[in-house]
């Protein structure tokens, strides 16, 4: 579904991603792990078309999307959320979800229609809000939500595009431990409901990574150190010591 072939990304002399090849299939939940500076966010930014790779290609559903830009990718069914919460601070929860529904339906350019009387957009927004447990906060300005709910809203607005694949950059960072599992549970249930085929996430919390992923990709200094199921990664001594910071599981 999403193929990255020998992707490189340099910032001047600094090599952030040094030849990553990655295949994401339909139905997979893939976690990308690695220490700070391993190139995780850069890789996500290349995969979502925000950054043009220095070398290599990214293919999505048969299109070469290297540097295609987020707008084009959103139209092709790829969405993302951000590491630092990105919401429209002055807009209410309802308005944020309405805006996302508008772009999905291609109605953003309607100049003289009344937004309030567009029932489809309204119901769409309300549906997404209820999937994420935000239905009681529709009138609250996004900037005034508690941190955990801001994260949820950021993810919810991406889900409101009904994407086929979604890339989540640290969906639970900056959120309390109790909120982390709430967010992940919500996310998994919502993605089934919406029909999202694949999820790629960057995550530091190893309980989350091992608890939810079908596959784990370990990055180290811009390269793929290991790529396998949670069970395989658990047994990989190099990855467990250098990235996860735990003792590997010994084969008895």
């Amino acid at each position: 579904m999403l193929h990255a072939v020998d992707v490189h990304k340099n910032y001047g002399d600094y090599v952030a991603v040094a030849g990553v090849t990655l295949f994401i299939d339909e139905g997979e939940f893939v976690s990308i792990v690695g220490p700070n500076g391993a190139g995780k966010t850069t890789l996500i930014n290349v995969l979502t078309g925000l950054l043009q790779p220095t070398a290599g290609h990214v293919h999505y559903k048969g299109h070469d999307i290297s540097g295609a830009g987020p707008v084009k990718l959103a139209q092709l069914g790829m969405a993302r959320s951000f590491q630092l919460v990105a919401v429209f601070a002055e807009l209410t929860v309802m308005e944020v979800l309405q805006a996302a529904s508008l772009t999905r339906l291609g109605r953003g350019m309607r100049l003289f229609h009344s937004l309030g009387s567009d029932r489809e957009v309204r119901e769409n927004a309300e549906h997404i809000a209820s999937l994420f447990g935000l239905q009681d906060q529709l009138g609250v300005k996004s900037g005034q939500l508690p941190q955990g709910n801001k994260k949820l809203l950021d993810v919810a607005s991406a889900f409101a595009l009904y994407p086929e694949i979604i890339l989540l950059d640290e969906p639970t960072s900056g959120v309390s431990t109790s909120d982390k599992h709430r967010i992940m549970e919500t996310l998994v249930v919502a993605s089934k409901e919406i029909g999202i085929k694949s999820i790629i996430q960057v995550e530091h919390d190893m309980d989350i990574v091992f608890g939810y992923s079908d596959r784990i990709v370990a990055l180290y200094e811009g390269r793929v150190l290991a790529d396998g199921s949670p069970q395989e990664i658990e047994c990989n001594e190099e990855v467990m010591r250098n990235i996860i910071g735990r003792e590997p599981v010994r084969n008895a």
């Binding site: 139209q75 990105a86 508008l102 003289f112 229609h113 937004l115």
Partner: protein
């Protein structure tokens, strides 16, 4: 401090998801009252004050457009008087050289002029934000000002061009009546009401909501599939159209066009009016235009260094009342209600 019983009955903290309620009807009533008052002014005010008020309509229309950029899209233009200038000079040329004497085609053709200028300026400027957007628009405004000043054979330089009084709605001309304080006053009032209604529709439309997304976080907006430049560009075009209309009625109400109309101080005045009235509110800029004109008249007659007073006022607003007069009014009203 409110007691628990007050907290359960008082609904100031609880917001209806639509933001509607009694407040909406009150606002509507106040707006209608404002329109009625404006309509009655020529009956009660002296001619001096009515003539003084004429630019109010032009500025109000221009500010409706400017605030679509500033308040709703987050782009601050320091050269918006460019479009007032283009509208005003287009009208002057059309009357002087084209012999056109009807108001409606004058407005349409002058708006076309504003759009023709706005397309290249907008395509370039919307790629920048913040101070860079501001400086680019300022630069284009000054470019046009220089053109007006230097191309004497076309523009008559700093002498400007005299503007005749066009025929309104195909049959109202200047014979036998006081044109400016009579029909033209009501024509401008009508135009302002119509253009405000259209703008209200735009800011409450899907397009308006999308602009506010672009304003609050353009990176997030792009990730939702919103083509940020495209939306900024259309907002820019719409604001230019409003500027063009404002230019035509300013030209007619002053009876003269001259280069200072698009000088940077004129653009600065527009920004001042917006801040004075409050850019966070739809009608704020219109309140700002009225307050600006009255204040300028009063302070100018008292002291020749009136700009000094205005500078101090601007500083006070930015520091103490960032949402302007409308912000103060709303705050005062909320206190009264409590």
């Amino acid at each position: 401090m409110s007691t628990p019983t007050e907290r359960t009955t008082g609904s100031t903290e609880v917001k209806h998801p639509d933001g509607k309620g009694i407040g909406l009807w009150l606002k509507l009533a106040l707006v209608l009252l404002g329109i009625v008052l404006l309509a009655l002014l020529p009956q009660v005010l002296s001619r001096y004050y009515i003539i003084l008020m004429m630019p109010f309509f032009a500025y109000s229309i221009a500010l409706l457009g400017l605030n679509l950029l500033f308040g709703y899209t987050g782009l601050i233009s320091f050269g918006h008087a460019l479009f007032i200038g283009v509208g005003a000079y287009s009208a002057a040329f059309l009357m002087r050289d084209g012999g056109l004497e009807y108001m409606e085609p004058l407005i349409l053709l002058s708006v076309l002029g504003a759009v023709i200028v706005a397309v290249p300026v907008g395509l370039l400027a919307v790629r920048y934000i913040g101070i860079y957007f501001g400086l680019l628009t300022l630069a284009f405004g000054m470019l046009f000002y220089s053109f007006l000043l230097k191309f004497y054979s076309i523009t008559s330089g700093d002498q400007g061009i005299r503007v005749e009084k066009p025929i309104l709605l195909g049959f109202i001309d200047t014979t036998g009546i006081d044109y400016l304080t009579g029909p033209f006053y009501y024509y401008c009032l009508g135009l302002l009401v119509v253009m405000a209604l259209v703008m209200w529709r735009i800011v409450k439309s899907p397009f308006g909501l999308t602009l506010r997304c672009v304003r609050d976080n353009s990176v997030k907006a792009e990730s939702l599939g919103i083509g940020v430049y495209r939306y900024r560009f259309y907002a820019f075009l719409i604001s230019a159209i409003y500027g063009g209309v404002a230019g035509v009625i300013l030209a007619v109400s002053v009876g003269q066009v001259d280069p200072t109309m698009s000088y940077w101080t004129s653009s600065g005045n527009l920004v001042f009016m917006t801040l004075l009235g409050g850019f966070t509110s739809f009608l704020g800029p219109i309140v700002g235009a009225g307050a600006f004109i009255l204040l300028q008249d009063q302070v100018m007659s008292l002291w020749e260094y009136w700009r000094l007073v205005f500078g101090a006022i601007l500083a006070l607003i930015v520091i103490f009342a960032p949402s302007g007069l409308m912000g103060l009014l709303t705050m005062g009203w909320k206190k009264v209600v409590r």
